[in-house]
């Protein structure tokens, strides 16, 4: 049980990293065609995450890989069950990656305009789909006694799931705009600040709705033992602080508070699930938990040693790159993408 809990926490940490880092990447991608009016401006926007986005995406791959290694049944149930949603997400992520790499490699205005919209769709769709997926995880879905979900895509697109999707989109828009406010200077940064405030309003309204619905429709916030209530309160405080610091004109603190919102919201989800990972809506006994879905203690021990040695190293060099490329970008900066 201890090892399984350790890995539940590690997977949570990987998802926190993923939503925190890819969250602003998706946000920046969604803002790209709106905040950047001219080609030069769009290039600056893309270059704000230029050195980082590749490694940010690895958080998702590592979260997936870690889930496969530590809770193979969860990986198998989730990925086969959410099949069509994942196909859409894969298409979006493939397009997005190629678009970012290729859009500035040719002069043609048409070429670049097409790829810019591909970046938008490739960022918005995964944000939406992750939100839908997480909301369905919180409420549970029809997993049978053999750990299989047969329902397909449509039952996942229920109103609660869709609201979850919108919450993710709004939060990531806010998070992305906060990131852009820290990473850019001059007129472009001003636009980002305005966008941050507007998306903060949308995110706050949607989040309140979602949390209220969550309270009534799920046991995430209310179940006895470990639950998501305290992190939910912390996320709410952080979210309110985003608005406060944005009005006060503090770019750095606004970004930090937005990041904390994402972090605490993710903790809320996983704390509310624990010790379940995938909740069956058919029968609680069919749920996948840290005990019935995990790898053997031997594999978990090996993986723990690997993680203890390498996670700090990764964090150190990833952190170093954010330090190296900390300078704000403007229209006169050198751009690569």
């Amino acid at each position: 049980m201890v090892l399984q809990t350790v890995w539940f926490i590690l997977v949570t940490v990987l998802f926190i990293g993923f939503f925190f880092l890819e969250g602003f990447d998706y946000g920046v991608g969604m803002w790209l065609p709106f905040l950047g009016k001219k080609d030069g401006e769009r290039r600056v926007i893309l270059n704000t995450f230029g050195p980082f986005w590749n490694s940010n995406e690895v958080w998702m791959l590592t979260a997936g890989g870690a889930m496969f290694a530590s809770f193979p049944h969860v990986y198998a149930t989730l990925f086969s069950g959410f099949y069509l949603a994942l196909v859409l997400m894969l298409v979006a992520l493939i397009l997005r990656g190629v678009a970012i790499e290729y859009r500035s490699k040719r002069e043609s205005a048409k070429w670049r305009a097409i790829w810019d919209w591909v970046v938008f769709v490739g960022s918005a769709l995964p944000a939406l789909l992750w939100g839908v997926a997480v909301a369905n995880l919180m409420r549970g879905f029809a997993i049978d006694e053999n750990m299989n979900y047969w329902g397909g895509l449509l039952p996942l697109l229920n109103p609660y799931g869709l609201l979850g999707g919108l919450v993710f989109v709004a939060l990531f828009l806010m998070h992305g705009a906060n990131f852009l406010s820290v990473r850019m200077e001059g007129e472009l940064a001003e636009r980002a600040r305005k966008a941050a405030f507007q998306s903060w309003i949308a995110a706050t309204v949607l989040t309140v709705l979602f949390v209220v619905w969550t309270f009534f429709a799920t046991d995430i916030l209310t179940k006895p033992g470990v639950n998501g209530l305290i992190p939910a309160v912390l996320a709410a405080v952080a979210l309110l602080a985003v608005g406060y610091f944005r009005r006060a004109g503090k770019d750095g603190l606004t970004f930090v508070m937005g990041s904390l919102t994402v972090v605490f919201a993710t903790i809320m989800v996983f704390a509310g699930l624990y010790p379940r990972i995938l909740i069956s809506s058919l029968n609680p006994a069919y749920s996948l938990t840290i005990s019935n879905a995990s790898s053997t203690p031997y594999t978990l021990t090996v993986m723990t040693i690997v993680a203890v040695v390498f996670v700090p190293i990764v964090l150190a060099y990833v952190g170093w790159t954010y330090w190296v490329f900390r300078q704000r970008l403007g229209l006169k900066s050198q751009v690569v993408y």
Binding site: P51, N54, H73, F79, L84, R106, N146, N148, T299
Partner: protein, 453 residues
């Protein structure tokens, strides 16, 4: 079509496609790092230009490798959930370790490399180049550790219907890894050499930037020769290992129906799989014995006998891989490999020292097209490696038919096949055009396009 067949097609398409981009990433990352090392040591600006130029070709290719790699990680769970449940305890670990040790490293330092030319010291930048190269190749090592278990399971037990890991170090020490990884790595080196020679040939024929492309060609020729020779030598020993451990794969690759002692090597054959015979073949006596055991008299078991042995060991069933596919895959791989050695030898002979390759116009024209060879060899090498394991997804432990997701209907797979297939088709054209456009542009256009300069 049923879900199983569709899922197999999907795996074949996405994996072959992904592997169009992987070997070049492996080989070119090291090549760029070598060029940059030369620049930092000598201060010769030409080598900086070379590193930047081939670095951008690397990036165009790398981007495709990364995005198609996401599909690779997802599809085990999507299409092969029973496999994932059966193998998760063993297979998930190398995948997670690959991400943690290799993906972070290559993707972080590619950002540093690309954006860091003026931000960090020369030496730190060089370190970034090497970390990208190390990260890429370490990632290949871990994925091959995972694949090697499927080819040759070691260090496991079957408990409660699942394969469980008993010894992590046995996984790392799997002999199959230490044939397969050097084989794949040297194939990548050869491919990078041929791709660099092809673009260089294009420019040399037009007398563009000779100071950059002449040395590029020269270095790439040596690089390609090393890779092509090594891939062949290692492949030979790998084949002998497989004769021992996956005899049906090798018998199928030789279309050897009957046991022979000594065994002849069929250069070409007409294969009738239904009748289990070859109506026509050209055979060189004794050569297959030599390839299998390094002597000309050893007995090599035929498909029919091996099928009987497999039935005795695993129970009733068809254990014969697609013979014609394996036979021709093997010949395309080996034939392309031999041509690569020949072309690389000529390239080295005609470009080494003070010799100028520019004059050999006919040869340069051929070399523009020569990258087809390593791409063919790599692709068909994997076709042999994977289809030759039929009917096993994990050799001797789980059959392909038992591995597929039970809850994914055929039309879902068709949807994803069509969506990903169409996307891959379009992107192949885009990436190829962009690589050619960039690779063949003159310096001025290139520098404004790369803009980092």
């Amino acid at each position: 079509m049923d879900a199983l067949l569709l899922a197999r097609w999907q795996f074949a398409i996405t994996t072959i496609y992904h592997f169009f981009f992987v070997p070049l990433t492996l080989g070119l990352s090291i090549f760029v790092a070598i060029l940059e090392t030369k620049y930092v040591r000598s201060g010769d600006e030409a080598f900086k230009k070379m590193a930047k130029f081939w670095g951008t070709v690397f990036l165009i290719n790398f981007a495709m490798g990364v995005v198609t790699g996401i599909v690779q990680e997802f599809q085990f769970g999507m299409n092969w959930s029973e496999y994932s449940r059966f193998m998760g305890d063993i297979f998930g670990a190398p995948l997670a370790i690959e991400a943690l040790l290799a993906f972070y490293m290559e993707s972080t330092f590619i950002g540093v490399w690309l954006f860091g030319w003026d931000k960090i010291s020369k030496k730190a930048h060089l370190a970034a180049a090497w970390l990208v190269a190390i990260g890429s190749n370490v990632s290949a090592l871990w994925i091959l550790i995972a694949n090697s278990f499927m080819q040759h399971p070691v260090g496991y037990a079957i408990e409660g219907g699942r394969a469980t890991m008993q010894n992590f170090f046995a996984l790392l020490g799997n002999p199959n890894v230490w044939y397969q990884f050097p084989h794949v790595l040297s194939a990548g080196v050869a491919m990078a050499g041929f791709v660099v020679m092809a673009f260089s040939a294009w420019h040399l024929l037009r007398k563009h930037d000779v100071t950059i492309f002449r040395p590029s060609f020269q270095w790439a020729a040596v690089y390609a020769l090393i890779g092509a020779v090594l891939v062949g030598v290692i492949g030979h020993f790998q084949g002998q290992f497989l004769v021992q451990h996956q005899p049906l794969k090798m018998a199928a690759a030789e279309a050897l129906w009957e046991t022979e002692k000594p065994a002849g090597f069929a250069v070409v054959a007409a294969i009738d799989e239904a009748a289990q015979s070859n109506p026509f073949e050209i055979k060189i006596p004794g050569v297959l014995s030599f390839l299998s055991y390094n002597n000309f008299s050893g007995e090599v078991k035929g498909i029919k006998q091996l099928q009987e042995e497999a039935v005795a060991q695993y129970g009733a069933g068809d254990y014969i891989p697609p013979v014609a596919l394996n036979f021709w895959s093997f010949r395309i791989m080996v034939g392309a490999g031999m041509l690569m050695v020949l072309l690389a030898l000529l390239a080295v002979a005609w470009s080494n020292g003070k010799r100028e390759i520019d004059g050999k116009k006919g040869f340069l024209r051929i070399m523009q097209w020569a990258p087809m060879l390593p791409y063919l060899a790599s692709t068909f090498g994997w076709v042999l490696a994977e289809t030759g394991r039929w009917p096993w997804i994990v050799f001797g432990l789980q059959k392909i038919e038992d591995a597929v997701s039970p809850n994914v209907p055929a039309w879902n797979i068709i949807f994803s096949l069509v969506a990903l297939g169409a996307l891959y088709g379009v992107l192949a054209i885009v990436a190829f055009n962009l690589a050619v456009k960039y690779g063949t542009a003159d310096v001025k256009i290139r520098e404004s396009a790369a803009a980092a300069d």
